[in-house]
Subunit: 130 residues, 2 copies
DNA sequence: GTTGGCACTAACTTTCATGTGAGTACCTTA
DNA sequence: TAAGGTACTCACATGAAAGTTAGTGCCAAC
């Protein structure tokens, strides 16, 4: 699946034109979105939810180390961005389910391979700081 | 190209087992790598370099808004992580070329679609904060 | 002869993301 | 009756990330 070591050196590929022109300018919205999505906890939450609907307390346990404040904040941002759906049932004790929207699934589909790569290469990278 | 609205709701997919168990724990190396890679400027630099070797001052102009300090810092981190190669020629005036390593290219291949998605959806997302 | 480009480093400051701890309202179980 | 779970919010503290300013050595062009 890799281009193979001897066939050719890693290739530089031109980016799509609109991307090349669009992402780099300072004030562009994609930078904001990228910031939300690639925030410390954003990735983890999106990833966790890619496995399906989950409750507040599930997420809290899942994303090890997150504080309640950051969980609330991250979820709120992702909800405002239309990536996460919040479903609060008026029962007692409270029950709130979080899930990805269609757009959220689109994103997580791109995020999963990235995180998988990071996971696979993490040890090499962290150790190999020559 | 979309799964279509009526066929089925967006599907939850189980993550690869090792990923599901590996990424969420607090102290795991993948979190560090993810932090480097998804840092504000890391993404931009990796993206810029995916188009091929570039000089310091090229990058500085390309990643609009970056300070010299942040450029140096980001490049250093990515170099230590083995994603970026630094080639300093002993000429005057100094000339330093930066390029991606093979591992860097692997990463950028995953990053490009993500950024492209962010770019395409950015306006919708930023405006549609209902 | 001074301005400017090149590729940086270092010191200092500000801003912002994240963390901490407490409090809320209600109910269940011990 | 006290402890604990559920899903939060709010005020405050801290620390890391990012920005700012200045300075380096050398050369070329003006």
């Amino acid at each position: 699946m890799k281009v193979s070591a001897n066939s050719r050196a890693p290739q530089a590929a031109p980016l799509p034109v609109d991307l090349a022109d669009g992402v780099f300018p300072a004030g562009c919205p994609s930078r904001t979105v990228l910031d939300h999505v690639t925030s410390k906890w954003g990735v983890l939450i999106l990833l966790a939810l890619s496995e399906g609907e989950q409750r507040w307390s599930d997420l809290r346990r899942r994303a090890e180390g997150i504080s309640e404040k950051m969980l609330a904040q991250t979820l709120k941002t992702l909800e405002r961005d239309g990536l996460v759906r919040r479903d609060a049932q008026p029962v007692i004790p409270p029950r709130v389910d979080y899930s990805l929207t269609e757009r959220g699934y689109e994103l997580s589909a791109l995020l999963v391979p990235l995180v998988a790569w990071a996971f696979e290469n993490a040890e090499d990278i962290v150790n190999g700081q020559r």
